[in-house]
């Protein structure tokens, strides 16, 4: 059993290496895969496009420019690895990868400058880039996404999941998410729309945060920024207790509550309850302005 898998993996590896060594500009390979297996994809430059399908196999199609050494595809014990190999010296080329994977696979993509796009993947996704942009469709499973300077665009279908997104300078746009969100950026902008949120943690240093969505009963919402603005439009059937504080920013709201000052000290706070007050919402900035509304 182990030997036959190893032999299959080696065959695929040698075949793929041979195909590329012959100078082909396109690469194609299919390997059997488990329905709930693991797929790891890595690429430095170019693109990575991943889509989920119902077949128990991984299909790889790549267009390779000059400078790409080869593409390795191997599978072992339910884990399929697709790796674009660059030469050790000199500048590598670009590879445009189109990979189809069983839709329930656990997917990990690592890229440097390559842009990454996923669609139709319902398993857990872990997507990492340095400067490449990421576009992903949320499939109801957890998502862990990290980018240094790449921009991020996420689209869900309102299925609850745990979403963990962080960038250094990249902007984040999330539509129709649900469940739990933890998002952080230094100077990027966070624009988030959640159909139903149980927990939200958003943090920025200088980037603005825009949230629009509905909070589930008892939801916990926490957003902080040093100099970025916070613009939150959060509705909740069961209401929430809110606490807004800023050191030197302005506070405004759509329900005519009046912020209070701290005597002779700088700073403003706004506290109160909307509806039954089942949830908790906290917004904090140093110099960023805060806007709060209880309607979407």
């Amino acid at each position: 059993m182990g030997f036959s898998r190893l032999a299959a993996a080696m065959t695929v590896l040698f075949a793929s290496a041979a195909a590329c060594a012959s100078g082909d500009k396109t690469f194609e390979r299919q390997v059997p895969a488990e329905a709930h297996g693991v797929v790891d994809i890595s690429n430095v430059n170019g693109t990575v496009v991943v889509s989920g399908w119902d077949r128990p196999e991984v299909s790889v199609r790549a267009e390779l420019s000059e400078g790409v050494e080869r593409v390795d595809v191997s599978t072992d014990h339910g884990r399929t690895t697709v790796k674009v190999v660059q030469p050790h010296s000199g500048h590598g080329g670009e590879a445009d990868l189109h990979v189809q994977i069983p839709k329930d696979s656990e997917l990990t993509v690592s890229a440097v400058s390559a842009d990454v796009a996923t669609a139709g993947v319902t398993g857990v996704q872990r997507l990492n880039t340095v400067s490449g942009d990421i576009t992903a469709e949320l499939g109801g499973s957890d998502l862990e996404l990290k980018s240094v300077s790449g921009n991020v665009k996420l689209k869900g279908h309102g299925q609850p999941a745990r979403l963990h997104v962080s960038t250094v300078s990249g902007d984040v746009h999330l539509e129709h998410g649900a469940g739990e969100l933890e998002a952080g950026t230094v100077s990027g902008t966070l624009v988030v729309s959640l159909d139903s949120a149980r927990s939200v943690r958003a943090r920025s240093t200088s980037g603005d945060v825009h949230f629009e969505g509905k909070l589930a009963r008892g939801a916990d919402f926490d957003a902080t920024s040093v100099s970025g603005d916070l613009n939150v439009r959060a509705s909740a059937d069961a209401g929430y207790a809110y606490e807004v504080s800023t050191f030197s920013g302005d506070i405004s709201n759509c329900f005519n509550a009046t912020p209070s000052e701290h005597g002779h000290l700088p700073g403003h706070t706004l506290q109160g309850t909307r509806g039954d007050g089942a949830g908790h919402l906290r917004l904090k900035t140093m110099s960023g302005d805060v806007q709060l509304c209880d309607r979407k």
């Binding site: 400058s113 230094v186 040093v226 100099s227 000290l265």
Partner: protein
């Protein structure tokens, strides 16, 4: 439970073949009870034990000591240290400032030696790591690091006006954490290029 007789050594093919109850060869309880009672009677006459009767594992003591020193450091930072002056850094020197030594307030807030060690190591390799990034990414990351630096200076300056402000203290701690995250991400990102 290991038997000694030849009958016990035969192979058992089913649980049903085992006896539902095995009586011990002799009843030990009367001896145990007598010994407990004897100890109880002699207890009042015994020497009083020191207050530290329950042995505390050394690792808990060490953890408690660390927590106490961290708490003292934070208290010193909040209560005793002079407020820092406004930032005096010119925009052109922002890059050099990333590697600047922590201020007294920094030390007070982040007094964990492991944090200091990790941060120093990340700072040491920062320039090399930045050079490994694609140029466009490098420029954006530099801007983000400058934003963090500005945020720290602004928060420290504001804390100078209002040292007990819990909001500013929380945001400053957040900013320290964000700085570490960015440094770690840059470290990982420059490794990713080599590893892929």
């Amino acid at each position: 439970m290991s038997g000694t007789g030849s009958a016990d050594e035969r192979k058992v093919s089913s649980l049903r073949e085992l006896s539902p109850a095995i009586e011990p060869p002799r009843d030990l309880w009367p001896q145990i009870e007598a010994r407990i009672n004897a100890e109880r009677r002699s207890a009042p006459a015994a020497q009083p034990r020191p207050a530290r009767a329950r042995a505390v594992p050394p690792r808990w003591l060490a953890a408690a000591a660390v927590m106490a020193s961290v708490a003292v450091g934070v208290w010193i930072g909040r209560s005793l240290l002079p407020a820092p002056g406004p930032g005096v850094q010119s925009p052109g020197s922002a890059r050099a400032s990333f590697a600047a030594a922590p201020t007294a307030l920094d030390v007070a807030y982040v007094s964990d030696p492991r944090y200091q060690r990790d941060r120093a190591a990340l700072m040491k390799s920062l320039q090399t790591r930045l050079a490994a990034l694609p140029p466009a990414a490098r420029a954006k990351v530099m801007a983000s690091l400058a934003a963090i630096q500005r945020a720290k200076q602004d928060l420290q300056s504001a804390l100078g006006k209002d040292p007990g402000n819990a909001l500013l203290q929380e945001l400053l701690v957040n900013t320290y954490q964000d700085e570490m995250r960015v440094l770690t991400d840059i470290h990982a990102a420059s490794d990713a290029g080599r590893g892929i």
